[in-house]
Symmetry: C2
C-alpha cells in the first residue's frame, strides 16, 4: 500500500474511524510515518490528530504544512484544540492559534490560562443553561429557538440569578415531562459541581464514584464557567490507570512509538535506583562472607528468601497503592489493614517455611539449615506484608506518589531483611 499510491491510500482509509487511523499511524516505523503524512497529508484531519499519542503528535504536526494544519484544526471543538495544543512546542502552538477564528482563539487562550491537568483545561465552554424558575415548556421553546446548540449535551443546567448552578435536568426527563412542570421539580437528585482548579484525577474519580454523566464546572465564586462530560472523564480515568501501572513498574510515561533513546532515558532512573538498593542488599551479604565460605549452600538458598520476600512485598504493595488511589484505604482502616497484611504474611510465611525447611533438609541434609531458612522465610514474609502497606501509606501522607516510589523502598526492605535474617541466623546457629 505504501507504493506511493496516494489515491488508493485515501480510498482505503476512507471508512476507517479516526481513532483507528491514529492507531495505524502509531504502529508504523518512523520512515513509513513520514511517507504516510506526505501522501495522506491533506486528509489528516483534526480528529485524527486528537487521537494520536502525545509523543507522536509533535512529530506529525511538524511534518504538516501550515495550511493543512489550519484546516485540520478549524473543525475541532475548542476543548479538543486545547488538548491538542498542550503538547506542542511554542512555534507550533502559535501556528495552531493563528489558524483559529477570533472567538475560538479567545476561548482556547482562556482555557490555556488554567493549570495543566485541571478541570479548567478539561471542560467544554459551550453551555446549555436556563434560569432555575423556568418550567419545562419555557425550556423546550428556548432550546428549539437556539441557533447553535452544542453537538453533544445531555443535561440542561439550572442557574440562579447570579449564574450559580443549582441543579440539572436530563434531556430525557425534560422530554418526558408536561410543559407546566417546574424544572426544579424534575432536577436530578445527585448534583455535583466541580471547582475549575480541581485536579483532573479527582474529576475522573468523582465521575466514577458518583456515576455522573456531566457536571457543571464553577469558578471560585461558584459561578458556572463550563461543563465536563463523562467521555472526557473516561479518557482521564484511562490515562490515570495507565500511569499508575507504568509507575508501579518503574517505567514512567511511555508508549510503543517513543524513540529508543527516549525509552532508554525513561527506564534508566528506576534501574539506577534499583542498582543502589541492590548494592545495599549486597553490603548485607558481604557481612557474612565467612559463613558463606563455610556453608556454600547459603549462597544457593539465599536468592529464594529474597525472591519470596520481594514477591510478597509487591503483592501487598500493589493492593495498598490501588486502595490509596481509590480512597478505600484511609486513616479509618489503616491499622486494620496493616494487621491484616501481617496476618496474611504470617500464614503464608508459615506454610512456605515448612515447605522450604523440608526442601533445605532434603537438598543439603542439614536439619539446622532447614530451620534457618524456615525462620527467615516467616520473618521476611511478615516484614514484606508490613512494608508493603506502611511504606505507601507513609509516602502518601508525605504527598509523594506511592505508585512511583514504593517499589524501590519495599524491595530494599525485603532484600535487606531477608538476607540479614537468613545469613544472620545461619551465622548464629551453624557456626
Amino acid at each position: 500500500l505504501e507504493a506511493e499510491d496516494a489515491e488508493a491510500l485515501v480510498r482505503a482509509l476512507e471508512p476507517v474511524h479516526a481513532a483507528d487511523i491514529a492507531d495505524i499511524i502509531e504502529q508504523l516505523g518512523h520512515d513509513e510515518r513520514v511517507a504516510l503524512v506526505r501522501l495522506y497529508g491533506g486528509e489528516l484531519d483534526g480528529e485524527i490528530l486528537s487521537e494520536l499519542d502525545e509523543g507522536l503528535r509533535e512529530e506529525i504536526v511538524g511534518a504538516m504544512s501550515p495550511t493543512v494544519l489550519a484546516d485540520a484544526v478549524r473543525e475541532l471543538e475548542t476543548d479538543d484544540v486545547v488538548d491538542l495544543i498542550e503538547d506542542l512546542d511554542e512555534p507550533q502552538t502559535a501556528a495552531v492559534l493563528r489558524a483559529l477564528d477570533d472567538d475560538d482563539r479567545a476561548v482556547v487562550e482562556q482555557s490555556l490560562s488554567y493549570p495543566e491537568e485541571s478541570a479548567g483545561r478539561l471542560m467544554q465552554r459551550e453551555l446549555v443553561f436556563v434560569p432555575e424558575h423556568w418550567d419545562v415548556g419555557q425550556t423546550i421553546d428556548f432550546l428549539r429557538n437556539q441557533e447553535d446548540l452544542p453537538e453533544q449535551f445531555y443535561h440542561v443546567i439550572l442557574v440562579d440569578p447570579r449564574m450559580r448552578p443549582t441543579g440539572y435536568v436530563t434531556l430525557g426527563r425534560l422530554m418526558g415531562s408536561a410543559r407546566k412542570v417546574k424544572m426544579v421539580d424534575i432536577a436530578e437528585d445527585s448534583f455535583r459541581t466541580i471547582p475549575v482548579m480541581q485536579d483532573e484525577g479527582e474529576v475522573a474519580y468523582a465521575f466514577n464514584q458518583y456515576h455522573l454523566i456531566s457536571a457543571p464546572v464553577v469558578d471560585a465564586d461558584d459561578r458556572l464557567v463550563g461543563v465536563i462530560t463523562i467521555d472526557d472523564a473516561m479518557v482521564i480515568l484511562d490515562e490515570e490507570h495507565e500511569e499508575d501501572i507504568m509507575r508501579l513498574a518503574g517505567v514512567g510515561e511511555s508508549s510503543l512509538s517513543d524513540r529508543v533513546i527516549d525509552t532508554t532515558k525513561r527506564r534508566f532512573p528506576w534501574l539506577a535506583v534499583n542498582l543502589v538498593t541492590a548494592i545495599l542488599a549486597s553490603l548485607v551479604v558481604a557481612q557474612f562472607e565467612d559463613v558463606i565460605t563455610q556453608f556454600v549452600a547459603l549462597a544457593v538458598l539465599m536468592p529464594i528468601v529474597a525472591s519470596m520476600g520481594g514477591n510478597a512485598g509487591t503483592q501487598s504493595l500493589t493492593v495498598a497503592v490501588r486502595s490509596l488511589a481509590t480512597k478505600d484505604l484511609t486513616s479509618a482502616n489503616v491499622w486494620r489493614v496493616i494487621r491484616r497484611e501481617a496476618a496474611v504474611g504470617l500464614i503464608n510465611g508459615l506454610i512456605f517455611a515448612v515447605v522450604m525447611g523440608l526442601v533445605g533438609v532434603a537438598w543439603f541434609g542439614t536439619p539446622l539449615l532447614g530451620v534457618v531458612i524456615a525462620i527467615a522465610m516467616v520473618v521476611n514474609l511478615v516484614v514484606a506484608g508490613l512494608a508493603g502497606v506502611i511504606i505507601p501509606v507513609v509516602l502518601d501522607r508525605l504527598d509523594i506518589d506511592p505508585a512511583l516510589a514504593s517499589g524501590a523502598f519495599v524491595t530494599t526492605v525485603t532484600d535487606v531483611v531477608g538476607f540479614f535474617a537468613f545469613l544472620g541466623l545461619a551465622a548464629v546457629m551453624l557456626l
Copy 2:
C-alpha cells in the same frame, strides 16, 4: 457513632451519597459491619447494595431480613439487579428474584441467560427507538406521549422495519432541529452496534476507543435487544484496569474488605509459582558451588545481577502487557518492538555494565571480576528486554492472559540467565 443510636446513624448518613455509604461499610471491621446492618438495616437501599464490593455484598445481603431485601431490590433498574444477583449464591438469588414483580423478574432472568461478562449482562433493556423514516416532529410527539421513558437516555435509536438499528440521534440534536427534518439526516456519523455475546472488556474498549456515549446491542440476527451506556462501560473499564494491575502483581481479584483467609488463599498460588522458579534459579547457582567457595565475592554480587535483570524485565513486560491490552502491540509492529526492547536493554546494559564493573573492581580489587559482572549485566538486560516482550506476546497468541502469567516466566528467565551468565563467566575466567 456506633453507640447503638440507630436514629442518629440514619440522620448522619442521610445526606451521604450511596457510593460513599458503601465505602464506609467497606472500611468497617466485620463486627462493626454486622452492628451497622442491624441498626441501619431498613435504610440500606438497593443503591448502596449495588455500590458495595462484590465480596461484601454476599455478607450484607445474608445479614438482611428478606422483607428489607425485597424493598431494597424493587427500586433498582433491571441491569443493576442483574449486577447484584450475579455475585450472590443460590438461595439469596432466589430471594431477590421472588422480591421482583413478574415483568422485572422475566427481564432479569433473560439477562442472566447471557454468559457472564458479556454485553448481554451489561445492557439495559429499557429502549427508546423510532422507525428510521420518521421526522423530528413525529419523534418529539412520540417521546412526549410516552408514559414511562427510561430515567437516563441520550440517544433515540433508529430501526428498520425488521428492528435492526441503523443509526441514532442525540437528544441535543433532536431538540435543536426543525420538526420537518428527517431523523436519518441528523443521525450521528459514528454509529456502532455491539453484539450481545461480546465480552465486556471489548465493549469497554470500543467505548473508550470510539468515544461512544451509548451503543445499541444487537442479537445474532442484528436485531435491537438492548442498549449499553457509557457509565456502565466506564465501570467495566475501571474493573478491567484494576484486574490487570492486580494480575501483574500476582494478587488476583481482591479487595481490602476480604477476610484474611481469602486473601491468603489468593496470594498463595503466585508465591508457590515463585518458589518453584526461585528453586530453579537456585539449582543454577548450585552448579557453581566450587567457584563461589573460592571467590565468595561472587555470592555478594550475585543478587545485583539478578535484581537488575528482574527489574528491566518487569519494565518491558509491563509495557508489553499494556500494549497488548490496548491493542497497540499487534503482529504489524511486534518485530519492531522486539528490536526496540533489545536496543534499550543493550544501551542501559552497557551503561550499568561500566558502573558495576567499576564498583566490582573498587570493592574487591579484582579487575577480572569487574569484567565478569559487566558482561553478565549486558547479557541479562538484553535478555530481560527480549523476554519481557516475547513471553507476553506468545502467551497472548496461546490465548493465555499475559497479565496473569508473564511475570513468573520473565523472572525465571532473568534469574536463570543472570546467574548462569555471571557464575558461568566467573568459572571460565577466574578459575
